[in-house]
Each structure stands twice: as structure tokens, then as C-alpha cells.
């Protein structure tokens, strides 16, 4: 299944638009970071859609030190808040490896859970439609488990987390293009 | 055998009625009549009747003829028999001659006797006449008479002597004859033996010659035979080479049609689902010269009925088999052949 460059661009645009719609910050993403990460076979679709830093052009040297510090703290909080809006994490085909750009977001979620012990999270693992249903159930579970471990390592409590795998049963998007598959290979955090 | 038969036959008859007795009687009568005519003049000369009678009887016997039949016995036997025969004849001759000699002597004696008797008669008659006329001269004549008597006696003695001498001479002559014959016989015997030896040697030589010739002939025959065999082998080689060339041609021709048949049958064969690569069915088929199927015979089953049937169906589905035009090739390869169904590559 060769995907043409045109197709690829379209898929990227689609996924960016999707993220933009979901994200309240409306921040831009760093296009350059994921293209180098994707493998030729599995991830032409540009599913690396995580929001990056949006500090560009925000800081001002004219502010006072206090103002500046306050602003920074505010910005950091806002940043964390913004990061916590990202609840979907994507995977390469047949892997459960958390991508590097997802780590900061997951750390933010972990910190949030740590500071809110009454908050539970349901970690839902998914796979794309390719491959077999039962194996994909196990693969979705493995992805969910990977995320769960990361959260716990970074401050969340085991009692706050719960995992479930739907395998390929609940795709995020319908369709059988590479970008559809990329969006469906995911773990979703559902805060309850 | 025959005599015996006759004995058997004659058992029921009185002895006098037997032909032998009758014959004896008949001859007796004849002889009696003959003797009656003879007996007065020369009764002493008669041969003794019993021996004659007996000879007649034996002659009357229907003896098997002593004809010498030609036999396959070797020459020497034949020669010996001939010699014996000659010897026998010679002896018979000798006996006959002696008998004649004796007869002659007896005849002479009789003649002398008769002469003497006639002389005595004449003397008696002369004496009577003499006594009448010469009584007177008795005295002087007595001397003459005695002298004549003495002379007569002398002549008589001389005659007897001569006779004796003659007899002795005859005996000597006979003896001489016998000796000569004996000598002759010995000489002939020696000659015969020499001849026999010569013949034996000749036969031996001939035998050896024959054997040699036979051997030569055999050798010649063997040589001839070997020669013929070589020729035959050569011919066979040539024929085989020709046949081989022909065979090769037929083979290549047949291979072409084998491939065609294989292709047609592969297209016509639907191996059933149950077929495995281990299954093999063999069918012997017979074709008509037109290429049409004459008969098909399952000679080796695969053990799977569906498989066997699929093979039979394939073979029977061809309305006409591709076969070579050449009749010899057809007869050699395609009149009857075997088809083996054994899937190597199942779908």
C-alpha cells in the first residue's frame, strides 16, 4: 500500500485539523519532529500529532523580573493545562512504545493525578483494523498497559487507573487509509 | 514244428496208415518186383535194400530246404562257410572216387573170375576131346599138360600179383591224391589266411581312411558353420542397427504423441478433492487405429474410488486420441499402453 505524497499531505492536514479542533490552545505543532520518526511502512500518515511547546514569541524582555516569573508560572500552568487536553496517544504498527513527544503530556497527566488522588482514569487501548482481532485485543491491552505504567512511574497511583482493550473494535475514524490506521492505533485516557 | 504238427494230426490214425509206413510199403513192393527181375542173375550185386529204403524215406521227408539265405554276416564267416563247403565237397569227391576205385577192382575181380570159369569150361571141353584122341599119347602129353598147368598156375599167380600190385598202386595213388589234396588244402588255407590278413589290413586302412575323411568333413562342417554364424551375426548386427534407427525414429515419433496424449489427458482429468499425492491409479487402454478408445482396464487401483473414477472418466472423455500416422509406430506403442494417474502438484 504505497501512499502518494499527495495522499500523505492530505492525511497530515487532516490529522492536524483534527488536533487543532480538539485542542483548546490552538497551538501549532512541530511538523519537523515526527517526519523523521515515522517508519516507511507503518506511519506515512503523520500521526505524530502531539502539541509541542508554544513559547515562540510569547516571552517579553521588557517585563519586570517578578512579572516575568509570574508570567512564566502562569504560562507553565496554562501549558500544563493545555497539555492535559491531549488525551490520545498514538503508536506505530504492532508496537506499544510510547513516543518521546508524548512523554511530557503523560507526565502532566501523571502529575495531575498525583495532585488529585480522587481522580480516576480509564486507559483504553486500541489497534487499527489490520491483523487479527484477538491479537489486536492483546496489542491494545499492551498499549494501555504501557501508558498505565508510565503514569504510575510518574506519580499516579495504581488505584486511580484502569485499563481496557477494545482491539480494533472501536476505531477513531472509519476508513482503511494509512492515516486512518495511524489515528486508530492509539490509547485514550478517559478521566472519570 | 511242422513235423510236430503232423505228429499231432497223425495221433488219431493207425500206424500203418501213416504216410511213412505207406511209403515204405510202396517202395518195398516196387523193390520186390525189381528184385524179382534181378535176383536170378546177379543177386549178390544187389545193394542192401534196407539202406535204400531208409534213404527214400528220408528223401520223402519235406525237410526245410538248406538254401543258404543271404545273411548280413561279415565276409569272414561267409568265407569260412564256403571253405567248409568246399572241403566237404572235396571229401565227398574223394569218397566217391574211392568207391568207384573199389567198384572197378571188384568189377575186375568178377571179370577175372568169369574168364577163369570160361577157361575151365573150355579146358574141360578140350580135355574131353583130348582124352578121346590123346589117350594114347598120355604119357608124353602128361608132361606137356603138367607144364601147361604150371604155366597156367604161373599166369594165375602173376595175374593175382598184378592185381595186387594194381590195387596197391591204386591205394598209393589214392593216398597220393589225398596228400595232394591235403597239400592243396593247406596251400589254399595259407593263401586264404594271407588273403584274409590282407583284406583285414585293407579294411583297417579303409576304416582309418573313412575316419580321417569323416574328421575332415566334420572340421570342414564346423568351419563352414562358424563362417555362416559370423555371417548371420553380421547380418543381425546390420539388421539390428537398421531396426535401432527405425526404433529411434519410432520412439521420437511416439514421444511426440505421448506428450500430446499427456496434455489432452491432463486437461481432461479432474482429480477429486480427496486426491493426495500418494494416490496412483493405472489404466491399461487399447486403441483402435483410428485413435478411438477400444477398451480401458483399471489394472491398479489408487484405493480411492473417486480417484479411480476420475481417471477412468478422463480416459473415456477423449473422443479420439492423438496417434501417429505411421502404422508401425502405432502398433508398437499406442495399440495398447498404460496410463498412470498420480498427482504431483495438487492445487
Amino acid at each position: 500500500m504505497k501512499v502518494t505524497a499527495h495522499h500523505k499531505l492530505f492525511a497530515m492536514a487532516l490529522s492536524l485539523g483534527l488536533i487543532a479542533g480538539c485542542s483548546s490552545t490552538g497551538d501549532t505543532t512541530e511538523d519537523g519532529t515526527y517526519d523523521s520518526d515515522v517508519s516507511a511502512v507503518d506511519q506515512e500518515g503523520g500521526s505524530t500529532v502531539y502539541g509541542g511547546d508554544d513559547g515562540d514569541g510569547v516571552s517579553s524582555s521588557e517585563m519586570t523580573e517578578e512579572q516575568r516569573r509570574e508570567a512564566e508560572a502562569r504560562a507553565e500552568r496554562a501549558e500544563r493545562e493545555a497539555m492535559r487536553d491531549i488525551t490520545t496517544f498514538y503508536f506505530d504498527f504492532d508496537t506499544a512504545e510510547i513516543k518521546s513527544e508524548a512523554r511530557e503530556v503523560l507526565v502532566a497527566h501523571a502529575r495531575y493525578l498525583q495532585s488529585n488522588p480522587n481522580q480516576d482514569v480509564r486507559i483504553e487501548g486500541h489497534a487499527d483494523e489490520r491483523g487479527t482481532k484477538e491479537y489486536n485485543l492483546a496489542l491494545g491491552e499492551r498499549r494501555a498497559n504501557a501508558i498505565e505504567r508510565f503514569l504510575i512511574v510518574n506519580g499516579a497511583s495504581r488505584s486511580q487507573t484502569e485499563t481496557i482493550s477494545y482491539g480494533e473494535e472501536k476505531p477513531a475514524v472509519m476508513g482503511s487509509s494509512a492515516s486512518d490506521w495511524a489515528q486508530n492505533r492509539r490509547v485514550e485516557l478517559v478521566f472519570q | 514244428m511242422r513235423g510236430h504238427e503232423r505228429d499231432v494230426i497223425s495221433t488219431g490214425q493207425p500206424p500203418w496208415k501213416s504216410p511213412v509206413a505207406l511209403s515204405v510199403l510202396m517202395h518195398g513192393l516196387v523193390l520186390g518186383v525189381a528184385l524179382a527181375g534181378w535176383s536170378w542173375s546177379v543177386p549178390t550185386e544187389d545193394p542192401q535194400p534196407p539202406s535204400i529204403s531208409a534213404r527214400l524215406v528220408t528223401q520223402n521227408e519235406p525237410e526245410p530246404s538248406p538254401v543258404t539265405e543271404p545273411t548280413d554276416q561279415p565276409d569272414r564267416d561267409e568265407e569260412r562257410r564256403q571253405e567248409e563247403e568246399e572241403e566237404r565237397q572235396r571229401q565227398q569227391e574223394e569218397e566217391r572216387r574211392q568207391a568207384e576205385e573199389e567198384e572197378r577192382a571188384r568189377e575186375e575181380a568178377r571179370r577175372i573170375q568169369q574168364e577163369k570159369e570160361r577157361e575151365q569150361e573150355r579146358q574141360r571141353q578140350e580135355e574131353a576131346a583130348e582124352r578121346e584122341r590123346e589117350q594114347q599119347r598120355k604119357a608124353e602129353e602128361e608132361a606137356a599138360r603138367q607144364k601147361a598147368e604150371a604155366e597156367a598156375k604161373e599166369r594165375e599167380r602173376q595175374k593175382a600179383e598184378e592185381e595186387k600190385r594194381r590195387q596197391e598202386e591204386a591205394a598209393r595213388k589214392a593216398e597220393e591224391e589225398r596228400r595232394r589234396a591235403e597239400e592243396q588244402r593247406r596251400k589254399e588255407e595259407a593263401e586264404r589266411k594271407a588273403r584274409e590278413e590282407e583284406e583285414r589290413l585293407e579294411a583297417e586302412r579303409k576304416r582309418k581312411e573313412r575316419e580321417r575323411r569323416l574328421k575332415e568333413q566334420q572340421l570342414e562342417a564346423m568351419a563352414e558353420e562358424a563362417q555362416q554364424q559370423r555371417a548371420a551375426e553380421e547380418r543381425q548386427r546390420r539388421e539390428a542397427a537398421a531396426a535401432k534407427a527405425r526404433e529411434a525414429q519410432m520412439l521420437s515419433e511416439s514421444q511426440k504423441y505421448q506428450a500430446l496424449i499427456r496434455e489432452r489427458l491432463s486437461q481432461a482429468w479432474y482429480p477429486p478433492s480427496s486426491a493426495t499425492e500418494e494416490m496412483t491409479a493405472r489404466l491399461q487402454i487399447t486403441l483402435l487405429p483410428t485413435g478411438e478408445l477400444a477398451s480401458v482396464n483399471l489394472v491398479s487401483s489408487s484405493g480411492n474410488t473417486a480417484f479411480d473414477n476420475s481417471a477412468l472418466g478422463a480416459v473415456k472423455s477423449l473422443s479420439r486420441y492423438p496417434i501417429p500416422d505411421d502404422r508401425d509406430t502405432f502398433e508398437r506403442y499406442f495399440r495398447q499402453f498404460t496410463i498412470e494417474f498420480n498427482p504431483r502438484r495438487l492445487r
Partner: protein, 444 residues
């Protein structure tokens, strides 16, 4: 010629049979035709399917509406990929009994077999008298009668198909078996899952379970009376046993984490299944009666999709212990696993046939997913499908057909192929996806 003679003799006595054998051998040596006679070996058959004429059955009396029995038979035979039925309009005559079958005509049409029959209505029953003829051998292969109630005339048709198939191929037909599968409709926004059971031709489908949560992995019990499957109806996966006649259901496995991939044992007393209650996906054996569990695999990798092999002693499963999913086999519950597949980096969900010759599975080649099989004796792998997003292979109980799910126009559909990869036959698609097919055993 010799064969029958010999069999005659063997029946008369042992000594005589020995004599007959010696005779036969002597005759064979004496004539020895094998050595001189031409031998032609045929090692390949026709690539095409067997031409067969299913003549429309004559009918007397009122027949049920719907498909004709002979056309159902025709479709059954077509579905196997092994037969190529002659369309009725091309037939020169339409005989309904053997007396009217002229082999020459059928031979001209290139047909190998002719099926003729008569249907008679007797009360609420239909009686079928049918005969199968071999055109080239000019023989009647089979003749029989069968009957069914008017309402189950399709069963009658499938029964005839089974008999015809077995008569020709030597393998029992599987047309009277059932399929279980899952349909998914998303038209109304919310998904709707349905577990259904139908005839092998997809007809007479009946919904057995409906849910707006996923239903997965239906598996037939050996007696064809029950299904085991995975349902998310409680919000998380659990395994249920569903008795079809009564509709009674039992939740047999509801452990934390995964409860998936149930597979029945031959005796119907236990299930193989995949649980992740101990950390990751492992294979367990669950005794249905006692509910006792025995763990059969222990590895940090994913072990799933178990299925018993034909011996009932060992089992196949999928594991990614080598890095990607591959098929493994354990010859007994405690044996070391042996890897079966090496052909590509993705081979999963093994399904062995019933005689241990092949194992079928999903096989990735390049970026496509096909159904492939490996010959367990030769270890030769063959890709069977040309479609590209193939899933869920299930072998027919006679080992001759394979059903699997593939994509068609964005939807999942079921396709039947010959188990050796012959012609495909798509089952009529309902709305939405049709997936997870499972072929029932043959039940006598």
C-alpha cells in the same frame, strides 16, 4: 481380468488363493507387459472446475416458494470452487430420471456429471428422488430418495448437495453445516453488533445476540449446539457460552483484563482461552464444569488465539515472542513451543484442519494481509487469497473449504474459497460489516 479371478479364488480357500497368487505372478512375469509397454504418467489435472449439469428437478404437487431445490444444489456445488455447473438454458434436454439421460448429448456439452431428480409433494413433506450419472463412464454413480418438511426444503437441498459432493469427490459434503458470524451496523451512529447463525450459503440467518458493545470470536462446540464468544456487553470483555436451542447463556470467564479467543476441546468439556489477569496475554485451559483454570503458556510476550490440533493433545497459538506475531505449536500442554511460520513478519490466528495436514492463518505479505496455509509435513507455505485485508479464516469440517472475512467496498464481507485456494464465492452481504465467521462441525 486377473483381479476378479483372484478374489473369487481367495474366497474359496487359503491354499487356493496362494496358488492363484503364484499363478498371477507367473502370468505377470510371463507376459510382463509393464516392461515393454508404453507408460504415460499424468501428474497434473485440469485447472478448471468439474463441469456438472444440475438439471432442474421435475415437480409434482405444490412446492414452497423461493429458491428451487436444484438451484440451491447448484449454488452449493459452485461455492466449493470444485464444480462448474452448466446453466439450464444450455441444456439440450431436461431429463428428470435416468431413462431420459442420453450420455452422448451431455458429452457433447462437455459435462462430466449429470444430476437429475423428481420432487413430489406428500402432505406437508417434500420427497426428492435423485440420480447422479457419470457421463464419460456412462454409469449411474448414485441414486437415492430423501424427504423433508415443506418448511425445510433448503435442508433437503443441502442434504442432496452433500451426497452428490461425496459421490464425486470421495469427501463428505459440508453443505448441511452452519456458519456463525458477527454483523456490525453503524448506520444509526451507534454501532449495533449481532451474533448470527446461518446456513453455509448465508441463507436462513438468525440473530442470536444483539449488543451495542463488541461481540467477538464465536466458536462452535463439538456438538454444534453451543457457541462460545467474547462480548463486551458489560463494558469489558467476558466469555459466554450460549446454548442455541434455548438461548441460555453462561458467563464462563470474566477475569480482570483480557478474556478472549475461546476454543472448544474435542470433548466439549473445556475451553482454551486468553486471559491477561496475570499481567499479559497468556493461554489457559478452563474446565467448564469446575471452572478450574490451568495456565498453558508463560511468557512476557503476547500469547493468544489458541486452538487444539487434530490430536486433541497439542495446540496452536499466536505469539510475538520473536518480535512479531507468529504461529507456534505445543505438542502437549507442557511441551516446548515450536515455531511453525517463518514466511513473513506477521502470521497469526491459526486454524488447523481436522486431519493435521494443514494449518491456516492470517499472513502479512508486503503491506497486505492474506490467508495462507502451511503444510505441516513439508512446512511449505502457500498464500491462498488475492484479496488484501483478510481475516478470521475458518476451515470447513471436511477440510475442503475455507471461509474468511475480507474488505469489499469499505465493508467487511465473508468469502468462501476452496481450501487449496480455488475460486472464491462471496456470501451475500447484509448491511454493514460481516465478520468473524466460524464454520460448524458436521453433526451426524
Amino acid at each position: 481380468m486377473m483381479g476378479p479371478q483372484m478374489t473369487n479364488r481367495t474366497s474359496t480357500g487359503k491354499g487356493l488363493s496362494v496358488v492363484a497368487w503364484l499363478l498371477a505372478i507367473a502370468v505377470m512375469i510371463g507376459s510382463s507387459p509393464a516392461s515393454t509397454e508404453l507408460l504415460i504418467r499424468i501428474t497434473e489435472g485440469a485447472d478448471s472446475a468439474i463441469p456438472v449439469a444440475v438439471v432442474p428437478f421435475s415437480e409434482s404437487g405444490q412446492m414452497p416458494s423461493g429458491d428451487k431445490i436444484s438451484s440451491i444444489v447448484q449454488d452449493d456445488l459452485t461455492m466449493t470452487g470444485e464444480f462448474r455447473p452448466l446453466p439450464a438454458e444450455k441444456m439440450l434436454s431436461l431429463p428428470s430420471s435416468g431413462d431420459d439421460v442420453y450420455f452422448r448429448d451431455w458429452r457433447l456439452l462437455g459435462q462430466r456429471y449429470v444430476l437429475v431428480g423428481q420432487l413430489t409433494r406428500r402432505g406437508d413433506k417434500i420427497e426428492a428422488r435423485y440420480e447422479l450419472f457419470d457421463v464419460n463412464r456412462e454409469e449411474r454413480v448414485m441414486g437415492a430418495t430423501a424427504s423433508s418438511s415443506v418448511n425445510s426444503s433448503r435442508s433437503l437441498a443441502h442434504h442432496i448437495s452433500d451426497r452428490v459432493y461425496e459421490a464425486i469427490t470421495g469427501v463428505p459434503g459440508a453443505f448441511s453445516t452452519k456458519l456463525a458470524y458477527v454483523t456490525l451496523q453503524r448506520s444509526g451512529g451507534e454501532p449495533l453488533y449481532r451474533l448470527q447463525v446461518s446456513d453455509v450459503d448465508g441463507k436462513r440467518a438468525r440473530v442470536r445476540l444483539e449488543s451495542d458493545e463488541p461481540i467477538l470470536s464465536p466458536a462452535w462446540s463439538p456438538d454444534s449446539r453451543k457457541l462460545a464468544y467474547v462480548s463486551f456487553e458489560t463494558g469489558k470483555p467476558a466469555i459466554y457460552i450460549h446454548e442455541l436451542s434455548s438461548g441460555n447463556r453462561t458467563r464462563i470467564a470474566d477475569f480482570p483484563g483480557l478474556n478472549s479467543a475461546p476454543a472448544w476441546s474435542d470433548d466439549g468439556r473445556s475451553l482454551l482461552l486468553t486471559l491477561s489477569k496475570d499481567g499479559n496475554a497468556e493461554i489457559y485451559k478452563l474446565d467448564i464444569e469446575s471452572r478450574s483454570l490451568k495456565r498453558l503458556t508463560n511468557h512476557w510476550s503476547i500469547d493468544t488465539e489458541p486452538t487444539w490440533d487434530h490430536t486433541g493433545e497439542g495446540f496452536f497459538f499466536t505469539s510475538d515472542r520473536s518480535g512479531g506475531p507468529q504461529i507456534y505449536h505445543k505438542s502437549s500442554e507442557n511441551a516446548e513451543p515450536r515455531r511453525i511460520t517463518f514466511g513473513s513478519r506477521y502470521n497469526a490466528r491459526p486454524r488447523p484442519d481436522n486431519d493435521g495436514r494443514y494449518v491456516y492463518y492470517v499472513h502479512q505479505r508486503d503491506s497486505s494481509f492474506h490467508i495462507a496455509r502451511t503444510n505441516l509435513q513439508t512446512e511449505e507455505e502457500t498464500v491462498l487469497t488475492r484479496t488484501g485485508s483478510d481475516e478470521s479464516p475458518s476451515v470447513s469440517p471436511n477440510g475442503r473449504m475455507l471461509i474468511y472475512a475480507t474488505k469489499q467496498g469499505g465493508n467487511s464481507v465473508l468469502t468462501v474459497i476452496a481450501a487449496d485456494g480455488g475460486a472464491a464465492y462471496s456470501l451475500p452481504a447484509s448491511e454493514g460489516d460481516v465478520r468473524d465467521p466460524a464454520w460448524s462441525p458436521i453433526v451426524q
